[in-house]
Every structure is written in structure tokens, then in C-alpha cells.
Amino acid sequence: MTAIIALSLLGILNLFLGFWLSRKTIQAATLLFLAGSMALTALDWNHELLWYGHMFHTTNTSISFSLIIQLAAFMVVSFSKGFGIDEEHTHPAEYYAILLFSVVGAILMVSFDHLIMFFVGLEILSVAMYVLTGSDKRNLRSNEAALKYFLMGSFATGILLFGITLVYGATRSFYLANIAVAIANTPPESTPVFLSIGVLLILVGFLFKISAAPFHFWTPDVYEGAPTIFTMFMSTVVKAASFAALYQLLSGPFGTMYGTWVYPIYYISMLTLLVGNITAVYQQSAKRMLAYSSISHAGYMLLTVSANQASTPSTILYYSLSYTLATIVAFGVVMLVAEYQTGRTEKPENFSSFEGLAKQNPGLAFCFTIALLSLAGIPLTAGFWGKFFVFSDIFNRHVYYPVILAIVMSAVGVYYYFKGIIAIYFKEGDIERIELPGLVKFAMWACTLGTLLLGVYPSIVKNLF
């Protein structure tokens, strides 16, 4: 809990640091701040506490998710080098500060006990993301992405808020515990219809945030238009926070209404898997492929949310972590290669600009390969166990068709992830050695080794609960 206060203050401090210090120092300071707030978060471990008039609730689950979010932010900051914009137009302090604020929002989203708290968290995160998406302000596509994201995002937020209002109307409370009691105490025949509508509208708002089909249309454009470093942040932090919040809402207050929300989720997860995977196959741009891949991973995670088993929170946690580690490396390598290729090829993010990467950059190629294998769910990597836990959760519900579809789609996934591997290893190209700053190297290898470690010994995370 102290972490969110610390991060908010440090974010403001960061803004002031921008007056005096160079980009490098601010980056180091931000990393230090994040490390500190992670330590503060971890201190609350095993202390279940309620804060702010019982609106904010720290549990071990929420702490684990907060740690993943901050870890993702830490890695993203390590990868950032002036956000790909030339020196004179960079305002590193602002961006690092906004990043820290958005982390605060994400932490609120995973530890709320009150719907307004949740909404505030979501808005802090979203508004920060709109700004960051448009941060490459002289780039037309970045502006387009930001506008698109903002318009669509506000619309979704509106729907979500409308849903919250209806739920409040039906249960007379914003507190999760009170809502649960109110729903449980109302006999099914006198439950107002607008309660179900409210729940479904909240769900729609979420589905937009996690980019599930058919609410995914913004994702590829926004992911592609935003500077890669923020795409990396968006696809990891926003996803992990939204899934944790979605699960907390559905399993907690709306747990007794399982029948209302589970079927929409089944169908939407199947649609998401189909749309995400099949469209990803046709992508020429690695960045766009990763955007569709993030849609398809939302499909897998939705499946596990719908299972609603005792093991589900740990599955979501594991999946978020494995997805985060792999996605950071994948986007990181795309960013490094695209930066190297800018000016040399017309479309620096296409698979064709990765050709021959392995020759001079074996380390980069190896990390990229492990990341893609993990996203594809091949054994030895964390992604495999993520899929395994998802399938095993959903099977416990005796639901088979979505799983069979998910399996077929995993095989399709292998197809497009391997496009990247084939390009870097087996195609001829003339990429010279790309010099990596120490921090980038550290972040890349830490994520890769983490992926491998979790792949061989998944108990480390699964044991937490």
C-alpha cells in the first residue's frame, strides 16, 4: 500500500528531476524508484489489510500482481533509450513520471475492494496510456493511434461506468463484499434484470481493455502506431492488471451469477482465439503480429477466467508473468532491430528486416527465439506451463469444445511465431552487430532466463498461494 503513495510522490519528484538531470540519470532514478516500490509492496506479504475506508485491499494475490506490474515497468524502463526520439525533442522526465503514475493506477486495479477505487485505477492507467501512445508527437501514426485509443477507450470506459451504476442501483453498494451479500440474499426471481445487464456491461468494458474480439479493432493500429517501448508497456501492464481485476470482480461479488457471465466469455474467448491467431498468420510486420498475438493470448486467459477454479488466480498470475517476460523480450528485440534498420529499409518492423539477425547477434537471436517459443507454448519455456495450467483449469469444468479450439489455435500460433525464428536464423541478411547498452542486455537476459527457469521449474510461482 505504501508503494502507491511512494510511487505517486516519486513520479512528481521525477518531473522536477527533469530540470536538472540528464536522461541517463533519470532512467537510473526511475529504476531505483521502481525497485524501492517493489520492496515496499513485498513488505506487505502475508499482511491482509484494508486501507482508505476499506476501499483498498492488500492480499497475497494482489501483491503478486502488483509485483508483476512493477517488474514489467522496471523492464520497460530498462529497455527505454530516450523513447526512440532524437535528443532535443525528448522529455524523458515527463514520460518516466507518467509511467510511474500509470503503475499506480495498475496497482489500484489489482487491489481494489470498492468499484469506485477500481474505476479510479483504471482511469489513471488509461489516461496515462493515451498520452504515452501519442508521445512520438511528430509521427503521424503515433498521433492517429493515440486518438483512436482515446476515443475507443473513453467509449469503453463509459460503458463500464454505466455497468457499475446499474450494479450499484441493484445492490445499493460499491463495496465488493456488500454487493456479494446483496446478490446472495436476493432470491433469483426478484433479481432485477438490470443487475445482469450491469454485469454484462462491465464485462464489455473489460473486453475492450484486454482487446478481446469483437472489441479488438483498435489493438493492431494502436500497438503498431505507438512507440514500441510503450506498446511493450501496454501489452504487459494493462493486460495483467485488467485480467487480475476482471477475475477479482467475476469470482468475488458476481461469483454467484456464474451462469450469467460464463457463456458470453466462452463464446468471446473462442472468437478471440480464432480472430487473433488467424489474422496473425497474415501479418508481414513483426510488431503487428505481436499485436494479434496479444489478442490471442487474451483468449487463453479469458478461458481460465471462465473456469473460476480455486487454482485460477495462480494460473492467471503464472500466465501473466510468462506472457510478460516473453512479450517484453519480443517487443524489445523488434524495437532494437527496427531502430537499427530505420532508414535502411522502408518498413523496419517487417519480418524481412530481421533476416540474418542470428549471424552477428547470436545473443539477441537466442533471446528472441526463446521469447517466441514461450509465446507459442513450446516445452522448456514458461509459456508451455501457462497453457497447461489454463487447459487443466478449464478441463476441471468439463468444458471441451473451447479447449479443442484452443489447441488447434496453438498449432496455428506456432506457424506465425516461427516466421520470426525462420527469418532470423535461416534467411540471408546483412545485419551487423547491434551494440546493446548494459541495461538493455541485463533486462533481456533476465527475462529470457526467467522464461527458461519458469519453463523448467514452474513451482516457483505456482507455490506462492
Binding site: 497447461f388 514452474p458 507455490n463
Partner: protein, 481 residues
């Protein structure tokens, strides 16, 4: 602990080779594989008295354990794997691959994956290695392969992965039915649990398991990846694929499918056997028409493995024993034969059967070893191939007479394509490209002569291996008799 050593030692050396890229990779790799062979021999000696096992917690909250186990059945396969890898490493001698640390490292990593699949007692551990083995072989084939390698190796990867996903899902299904809060994937527990399922459920599960193994072996009609991949992969990759990796499929059927789904086998076993026998005949007929020697051997391997599959599915002790023996013999014969073709290709730059001829005039040792290995492959009495093939055919006969007779044709067809290959390449007139064929080098002899000796020894003393595996097979049979 010995089991842990034989599992991880190749990977350790392999990754060291991949990371440090030493100059003398060949010597290190050969030494490592020989140490591995010695250690495995020691383990097998122990296992011939009592099964050896090792167990450590792995994913405790999911009930998965890191348990390894050597009995008569897995013993034969780890023996095969440990025996063949030194020969496969030795075939790289004096080529540009010999001191290619990456190539040698990938081969050793592959050995760990294969050993792991054969050693695993936890079904998920098996799956883990079963899939993990795809990575090193994919990179071996895709980096060092021949023409059109990207598309072909990629098809291989996706095809086999697709099949094993169904295996995974069926496995998860059974695993979730196991008793206990955390469930268990120990093979014995799975046997117990699967036994209680209805015939319908067992039928579906059988189909899902068999699909994965049928693709790996491969069984007709799931073989379309195989000839291309075998042809395009570097010789050593093909040896690993055909000599050891396809045995993961047959081993999986013996270890998991038969004892877990006896009712499923009763319902669908005959259909699967018929597909396997179709593969035997179809593979042999296509092999007869091949122009490329390596492709011919690929189809012959396809035919041989079909018979193994049919024998195993008969569920009789002869069938399983025969299949185990045949896995060993086929491994020895096929890597020998692929090496002979590799030697010819190195000297003549061609594998076209029609362009070869008269090699016997230049290299007598090559002809003799080639003939011995081929005779083993066509199952002549007193060669290793005879023992396995005889037992397999007997088991198919006992199960279904018509099927047995059809499968029996394989002996004739096998003789046709193998002898045609020998005749066209070794005898007849010297062709333009074989005109200055150099005799075998010491390194080449050092591979081919021991392999030929094993062909004959295997034919004369089959009881060493059959006696070793029999108690375990007897025990396994109890699960579905």
C-alpha cells in the same frame, strides 16, 4: 542419481559446446557420448537385476514429479540411444561438421531430450521431453539441411507439434481424473485411473494418444512430413530421426497407450493395425520406385515402423518383445545404411541410384558392410532384423490371419528395394561419377565395421536383449490381459 547423470550429462556438455564453441568439438562430443554409453551400460547392468528409479519433486502443487525409471522396456531404448549416438557423432569425422561446436552441441542436446523421454515415469515429464526433442532436431535440420529446408523442416515441426497437442489434452483429461487433491501423472497411477473409464471414453483417448505417436513414427496416412524431412536433413539429423526419435512413438504406444486404454485398443486397435499394415505395403511399394537413395531408405523406414506398430497393437508378448528388438535392430541398421549413402554422396556428390554403379571395384569393405546392413534390414535369418521381424509377423498373424499374410509381403518387397539399391550402386558398370571412388577411411570403417558386427551378433544372440526386457513386458501385459 545415475539416472540423473545419464539424463543431464549430454545436455551439460552440449550446452558447453554451444556457449563456448571450442575448437576441438569433435573430440569432446565423441568422448562425451562414449562416457554416456559407459554410464548407461552401468545403469543397464543394475537394471537387469532390479528396476532403477530416481524421483524428485517437480511441480508439487500439480502433482507432477521428476521421476525417472529404468526397467526392461525403457532399458532397451536408453541402451539404443546411448549406443547409437557415439556412432552418429563418429560419422562426422573429417567433415566440416566435425569441429562445428554448434552441430555437435545440438546433437548432444538432442540426446538428453531422447533419453529423458525414455526414462520418464511421469507422463508429463515424458510429454515434456517428447516435445523438447523437436527443438534441437528442428535446428539441426533447418540450419544444416539441403534444398528447400525451411519449408520442409517447418512442416515437420508444425505437423508433429499439432499431433502432440491432442496427446497433451487427452493426458490432461486422464490426469484430472486421478485421485488426490493434487492429482498425479505417475504412469502407474494413470494406468489405474484409465482402467476405470468406459469403452467410449477410452476410444476417444486412444485416438488422441495414438494420433501423436502415429505422426511421430509415422503411420499411414500421417507420414507426409517424413520422406521430405529425412531427405532434406543432414545425414546425422536423419540418423537421429530414424534411428532414435521415431522410437519415441513406438515406445509411447507400448508404455502409455496399451496399458492405459485396453478397451480403446480392443475397439480401435484393429483399425490402427490396418493403417499400420497399409503403411508397410505402401511404403515398400513407393520405396521400390525411388530414384534417390536417401528417400528410398526413408520409405523403407516408414515401412519397418508400420510393422512395429502393428505388432505392438496386437498386444501380445511376442508383438511387444518383437517390437522392442526390432527398434534396436532397426536403429542399428538404418543409421548404418544412411551412413553408407552419406559416404557415397560425399565422394560422388550424388544420391541418384541410376547414376551410381560398380563401387565394389573400388571399395570392398564398403560393399561388404553395406550388404550385411542391408541383409539385416531385409530380415535374413542370422541377422538382427530377422528376430524382430519374425516375432512381429507372428503376433500379427495370431491377431488376424489376413492382416498377417498381407504384412508378410513386406519381406519380399523389402528384399526387392534393398537388393535393387545394392545392385545398382555397388555392382554393375562403373559410371562416370563413381570412376575414382576412394576406399573407406579409417574413421568410416570404425563406424561401419562395428555396426555390421552388431547386425550379426544381434542375429545370433537375441536372447541377451529379449531376456532383459521380458520381465518388464510380462508385467506390462498384466495391465491389459
Amino acid at each position: 542419481m545415475y539416472l540423473l547423470f545419464i539424463l543431464l550429462f549430454p545436455l551439460l556438455i552440449g550446452s558447453a559446446l554451444l556457449i563456448f564453441k571450442p575448437k576441438n568439438a569433435f573430440a569432446i562430443s565423441l568422448a562425451a557420448s562414449i562416457i554416456e554409453l559407459a554410464a548407461t551400460a552401468f545403469v543397464l547392468k543394475e537394471a537387469s537385476l532390479n528396476p532403477v528409479s530416481f524421483s524428485a519433486p517437480w511441480v508439487a502443487e500439480a502433482g507432477l514429479s521428476f521421476s525417472l525409471y529404468v526397467d526392461g522396456i525403457s532399458g532397451v531404448l536408453i541402451g539404443l540411444c546411448a549406443l547409437l549416438v557415439p556412432f552418429i557423432v563418429a560419422t562426422t569425422a573429417n567433415t566440416d561438421r566435425a569441429n562445428n561446436a554448434q552441430f555437435q552441441g545440438l546433437m548432444l542436446a538432442m540426446q538428453t531430450a531422447l533419453m529423458g523421454a525414455f526414462l520418464a515415469k511421469d507422463a508429463f515429464l515424458f510429454y515434456f521431453f517428447f516435445e523438447a526433442s523437436l527443438l534441437p532436431i528442428y535446428f539441426l535440420a533447418a540450419i544444416y539441411g539441403g534444398e528447400n529446408k525451411n519449408a520442409i523442416t517447418f512442416k515437420f515441426f508444425v505437423y508433429t507439434l499439432f499431433g502432440s497437442l491432442f496427446f497433451l489434452i487427452a493426458l490432461v483429461y486422464v490426469y484430472l481424473l486421478t485421485p488426490g487433491e493434487f492429482h498425479s501423472a505417475d504412469i502407474d497411477v494413470l494406468y489405474q485411473t484409465a482402467k476405470g473409464l468406459s469403452a467410449d471414453q477410452q476410444g476417444y483417448l486412444f485416438a488422441a494418444f495414438f494420433l501423436a505417436f502415429a505422426i511421430k513414427m509415422p503411420v499411414f496416412p500421417f507420414h507426409t512430413w517424413q520422406p521430405d524431412t529425412y531427405t532434406v536433413a543432414p545425414a546425422q539429423g536423419t540418423m537421429l530421426l530414424s534411428g532414435i526419435m521415431l522410437k519415441m512413438g513406438t515406445y509411447g504406444v507400448i508404455r502409455l497407450v496399451l496399458p492405459m486404454f485396453p478397451l480403446g485398443v480392443a475397439t480401435w486397435g484393429l483399425t490402427a493395425s490396418i493403417l499400420s499394415v497399409i503403411g508397410v505395403i505402401y511404403g515398400s511399394i513407393i520405396a521400390i520406385q525411388q530414384k534417390d537413395a536417401k528417400r528410398l531408405l526413408a520409405y523403407s523406414s516408414f515401412a519397418h515402423v508400420g510393422l512395429m506398430s502393428a505388432g505392438i497393437l496386437s498386444g501380445s508378448i511376442e508383438g511387444i518383445q518383437g517390437a522392442l528388438y526390432q527398434m534396436l535392430s532397426h536403429g542399428i541398421n538404418i543409421i548404418g545404411l544412411f551412413f553408407v549413402i552419406e559416404i557415397i554422396e560425399r565422394r560422388t556428390k550424388s544420391r541418384e541410384i541410376a547414376q551410381l554403379g560398380g563401387i565394389t571395384q573400388f571399395s570392398y569393405p564398403l560393399t561388404v558392410t553395406f550388404v550385411i546392413l542391408s541383409l539385416g534390414s531385409v530380415a535374413l535369418p542370422l541377422t538382427n532384423g530377422f528376430v524382430g521381424e519374425f516375432l512381429l509377423l507372428k503376433s500379427v498373424f495370431d491377431q488376424n490371419l489376413t492382416l498377417g499374410i498381407i504384412a508378410g509381403i513386406t519381406i519380399i518387397l523389402g528384399a526387392v528395394y534393398t537388393l535393387r539399391l545394392i545392385q545398382k550402386s555397388m555392382f554393375g558398370n562403373v559410371s562416370r561419377i563413381t570412376a575414382d571412388f576412394a576406399d573407406l577411411t579409417f574413421a568410416e570403417k570404425a563406424v561401419l565395421i562395428p555396426l555390421s558386427a552388431l547386425v550379426i551378433l544381434g542375429g545370433i544372440f537375441p536372447s541377451t536383449v529379449l531376456g532383459f526386457s521380458e520381465p518388464a513386458v510380462q508385467q506390462l501385459i498384466q495391465w491389459f490381459k
